[in-house]
């Protein structure tokens, strides 16, 4: 019996492949962008049709909204609103993440802490921030702190819950491996539990950002001089539907931008922690 071996030709095909796949990736990206543009154009078209059907008293058309935005930008209202709302969101959300992540770690790691805090996290997460608007103003006044606290409230629970879920999902064999390699309890928490949980913390932070945008409008209902929420609420008093539209669309764009920035940072910094963003 004879055995024949044939060597596969390798050199010929490898040369062209990378270039071709790069070209394909470029076409893919172009296709994605193209579809996004189509989706936005269709949306604008539907919006325009609705505006024509119901008239400017109910629906501001895209062009009316654009000119209203120019008007608000010119006198500085739009810029100031964006800055004021962004400041509240970033401070409240940042505090929420800074407090929520360690608390979540403790809840996930230490049974006693979990049992002591669980009744509260389970209770408060069902109460929307808007329910606390009145109390916040009564207790903290009409200054910045009442709004920041409401944003903090809306951010902190979701970060805590995600983090503690992440701690409980840490692979048992990683913990056992660390212990048997000689790590102390504290070292395990710092060197194994925390890094394993990072992807969950990032997810929690992103969800919290979304919640902060949901809350900012209600936080600014009462006694805010400036801000996107307050712009929307005061426009009603002037009967300016077009300004309301400007406020809503700005909120949406701002949220999208913040989420993209967060994703970008997360992708850069947390790549090695296995955070899928």
């Amino acid at each position: 019996m004879t055995i024949t071996t044939t060597e596969a030709p390798t050199s010929a095909s490898t040369g062209t492949r990378p270039r071709r796949s790069k070209g394909r990736a470029g076409a893919q990206a172009l296709r994605t962008i193209g579809l996004y543009i189509i989706a936005v154009l269709v949306g604008l078209g539907v919006w325009q049709l609705l505006a024509v059907k119901y008239g400017p008293a109910l629906v501001a058309s895209p062009s009316e909204t654009l000119s209203a935005a120019r008007e608000l930008a010119a006198d500085g209202t739009l810029g100031n609103s964006i800055i004021a709302s962004s400041r509240r969101i970033l401070i409240g959300w940042g505090l929420g993440v800074v407090v929520g992540a360690p608390v979540g770690l403790l809840i996930g790691q230490i049974r006693i802490v979990r049992l002591l805090l669980e009744p509260y996290t389970e209770f408060f997460r069902f109460i929307p921030p808007v329910a606390f608007v009145t109390l916040a103003v009564v207790w903290l006044g009409i200054g910045e702190s009442s709004k920041v606290v409401l944003i903090f409230y809306t951010a902190v629970f979701i970060v805590t819950l995600n983090t503690s879920a992440g701690v409980m999902a840490v692979n048992e064999s990683k913990l056992r491996a660390a212990a048997s390699l000689g790590a102390s309890r504290r070292q395990i928490l710092q060197r194994v539990v925390l890094p394993s949980t990072v992807p969950y913390i990032v997810t929690g932070a992103r969800l919290a950002m979304g919640n902060s945008f949901l809350t900012i409008v209600s936080a600014e209902i009462v006694a805010a001089q400036v801000g996107l929420g307050s712009l929307i609420w005061t426009s009603r008093n002037y009967g300016r539907i077009d300004w309301v539209f400007v406020g809503i669309i700005t909120l949406g764009i701002l949220g999208l931008v913040y989420d993209r920035i967060l994703r970008l940072i997360a992708m850069r910094v947390l790549y090695k922690y296995g955070a899928k963003v």
Binding site: S173, R176, G182
Partner: protein
């Protein structure tokens, strides 16, 4: 030892201490350094609530021995290994390493897990290997030395700065082995470390394991359900009965020269004997699960 049955020496464990009397015969390659620790298990049982996983385990594993725990799946091999690593406590009997009771995880008792999930994916291969030394506060220079030595031992120096996620399954298991050895443990416990690998990779890593073991001189307890793997690696093979409440059924001494040759007639004889021994337990387990083994018996009779 008697040459009556060349290379094979079987003893049936009668549930008492007779197993401990087994003579360990000289092996082909003598370990280089005698840093292994002796493990001693006496009348050990492990229960989870009302469930008895294993019971009446007696094992005397001398320093430097390579012992395979062989048994049908679900028989409690891994449970017993977890107890040896200090992850769980025995509910009865005693378990000692070099005379001291095993009370918890200990760097002296290293564990190579079945799944490479046990690696730290956010650390590079090198950082994984130096994890133990780093926890003990070893200096950076010393850590570099350790990483170099043990990555060299498993042939992964060129992957030092990669992350586990970028490696193949076989390479990841090598990293696990290097990580454990970097702690210079007296006992290395291995829980079906090559069970998830393809046949070729598994074969290479089995040979590597034999080589590394003879170079390091540590005691190894290796859990497997692969008979060939056990014959290839072990000084002794402990066959476990089907669970629950599993115990050690019999103990074989594998007195074959190393490196082992699977086609050796003595190895083939041992293989058949082990297969029959385990087959009995597997059938028992299947009967317990309500599966009929009629076809099995017919096939055997034919």
């Amino acid at each position: 030892m008697t040459k009556a049955i060349q290379g094979i020496d079987k003893e049936t464990a009668p549930g008492g201490g007779a197993v401990a009397a087994t003579t360990v015969t000289a092996r082909g390659t003598e370990p280089a350094a005698g840093r292994g620790a002796a493990l001693r298990v006496e009348g050990a049982g492990i229960s989870f609530g009302d469930f008895r996983a294993v019971q009446g385990i007696d094992l005397d594993i001398p320093a430097g021995e390579f012992l395979c725990l062989l048994g049908p799946s679900g028989c409690g091999k891994s449970t017993l290994l977890s107890a040896m690593a200090g992850f769980i406590q025995v509910s009865e009997g005693t378990l000692t390493a070099d005379g001291a009771p095993v009370r918890g995880p200990d760097p002296e008792l290293g564990m190579v897990f079945q799944s490479s999930e046990a690696l730290f994916d956010w650390l590079t291969v090198k950082q994984n290997v130096t994890f133990g030394p780093r926890m003990r506060g070893m200096s950076r220079a010393e850590q570099n030395g350790v990483a170099d030595e043990y990555l060299g031992l498993v042939g992964l120096r060129h992957c030092a700065d990669r992350y586990p996620g970028q490696l193949s399954g076989g390479m990841r298991q090598r990293v696990q082995i290097a990580r454990v050895l970097a702690n210079e443990p007296g006992v290395v416990l291995m829980d079906e470390p090559f069970g998830a690998l393809d046949a070729q990779t598994r074969q290479v890593l089995q040979q590597e394991t034999a080589r590394i073991w003879s170079a390091s001189g540590c005691t190894v307890v290796f859990v497997t359900h692969d008979i060939d793997e056990a014959i290839l690696l072990a000084d002794r093979v402990a066959v476990m009965t089907a669970g629950p409440a599993a115990s050690i059924k019999s103990l074989y001494t594998v007195d074959l020269p190393r490196p082992r040759d699977e086609s050796d007639p003595a190895a083939l004889r041992l293989r058949n004997q082990l297969r029959e021994d385990i087959g009995e337990e597997v059938r028992k387990a299947m009967r317990d699960q309500g599966l009929d083994d009629q076809l099995d018996r017919e096939a055997k009779g034919a």
